[in-house]
């Protein structure tokens, strides 16, 4: 089974939005490879013709009536934000210029 390299882990960390130190990348690489080894036994098992199962209970298209319901008060929602401006979430600049 393939091993994950330092660069693989750094790439995945970037995809997952985690800013990690070299030391932490090394730890995660070690742990990831340890578990990948453990996954190898799955590859031995034949699964030709087996359907993938993504949910335990078969359910399709759960619909509800499209009715307006009262929403939560804006203050209760925005009040949890680490930074706000009136009724808005404040974030660092996204668009340059």
């Amino acid at each position: 089974m393939e091993q994950a390299t330092r660069d693989d882990v750094a790439h995945v960390a970037e995809l997952a939005h985690l800013a990690l130190s070299e030391e932490e990348i090394a730890r995660l690489q070690r742990e990831l490879n340890r578990i990948l080894e453990h996954f190898a036994e799955l590859q031995q098992l034949r699964t030709d013709g087996v359907e993938p199962m993504s949910h335990a209970v078969p359910m399709v298209n759960v619909l509800r009536v499209d009715e307006a319901r009262p929403s939560l008060p804006i203050d209760a929602i925005v009040g949890n934000a680490p930074d706000r401006a009136e009724e808005f979430f404040r974030v660092p600049r996204i668009v340059e210029g």
């Binding site: 990690l20 990831l32 340890r34 799955l42 699964t47 199962m53 949910h55 209760a76 949890n80």
Partner: protein, 491 residues
Amino acid sequence: MEAYELTAHGLAEALRRKELSAVEAAESQLARIEAVEGKVQAYLRLTPELALEQARAVDEARARGEALGPLAGVPYAAKDVLCTEDVTTTCGSRILQNFVPPYDATAVANCRAARMPLLGKTNMDEFAMGSSTENSAFKITRNPWDLERIPGGSSGGSAAAVAADAACLALGSDTGGSIRQPASVCGCVGLKPTYGRVSRYGLIAYASSLDQIGPLTKDVRDCALLQQVLSVHDPLDSTSSSDHPAPDYAGQLTGDVRGLKAGVVRELMGEGIEPGVQECVRKAVETLEALGVACEEVELPHCEYALPVYYIIAPAECSSNLARFDGVRYGHRTQEPVTDFEDMFAKTRAEGFGPEVRLRIIKGTYVLSKGYYDAYYLKALKVRNLIRQDFDRAFERFDILLSPTSPTVAFRIGERVDDPLAMKLADICTIPVNLAGIPALNVPCGFSEGLPVGLQLMGRPFDEATLLRVGYAYEQQAGWVGRKCEALSAK
């Protein structure tokens, strides 16, 4: 006997007879918490004013002659994974340290509607990821039976609170065993209902195809009563089933289990299971046979793959679910200088998530990433189907299946922190159940080395009733219930 020592049904009966008031019951419970919490550390937050206010309302309603549900005035604790209106909810994580939900999870709302006073929020492994509650960002919870040992996890706070008489009942959540394994090692009853039985609205999601909410209680009757409160279809969770109305669970507790068939899972009774645990479970099987249950060995050949399947699927789903924690709408935001918003996300998340959560996000992102998706994630989904088919076949012959719940008694605090694979083995008997989506119940079945051992009863989808019926008959016959932890009586 003090009020806090009573079971929920015992306390409810005393309240109905007006032998004591709901306020007195809540006060007794809060005094008990004060006496033992220093040792056990089951709670992250207490809500005494709320509990007393809700208890007072129950007493007033009773005085007015209002009809009250069976658990009205019985105080409970909720795992900190469940949103509670105006009560801080952290999920055991620094990233949610200051989060105050503006709404109740449906499970909490149902307990509120049942007039159950909320005592507080219990400790847990961060984002429910762990088997010992040692992954909490805030504190170490101790097993009331031996304060040097773990209470199990991730609902370790809920299990420890019930075992220590620091809550009459508690809510937990179970993704790979997080209700049943702590219930097992703390000597309580714990039920993971069928996937779809309990609404997860307001449950902070870990792995959405596996997560369920359920009760941790002192005995099986209490479990039936609390499960009744939770078994309500909820349009706010599209996985909440409307096709299987809940029967009257307490009405199933007849003590009569003659003619039922039970399969003892061969793969979960050998290697990897402590001899002391095996012995207790074998004796429990004998007890069930004496009660008229026909027990026979059954094989679930794909069970051995459950652990790798789970450790692909659960991190994959977690990496997606936890993407929402970005320091914008709630929770922690980095105070470090940032270059742009992506840098803000990345620094916030690295600071806010603990080591185990970071690891699972990395694993999950890896197995879902380009080039690895088919080899890992898709493969795991296929093997998951094979595991479910094993259960389907077994339930053609048997009404329930039996195994140990935890392969060992509670281990020592710190013992497995540096051995992640040993830690994961704690869930070897419970994980297959989540993958198949079926219900399973832990009932205490004896002691090994002076520590509680649990029996796991697994059932057909939406047949919690049979589990409760068999669990109750066993419990009445075996007589383990009502034993108190001596570690807490020692001065």
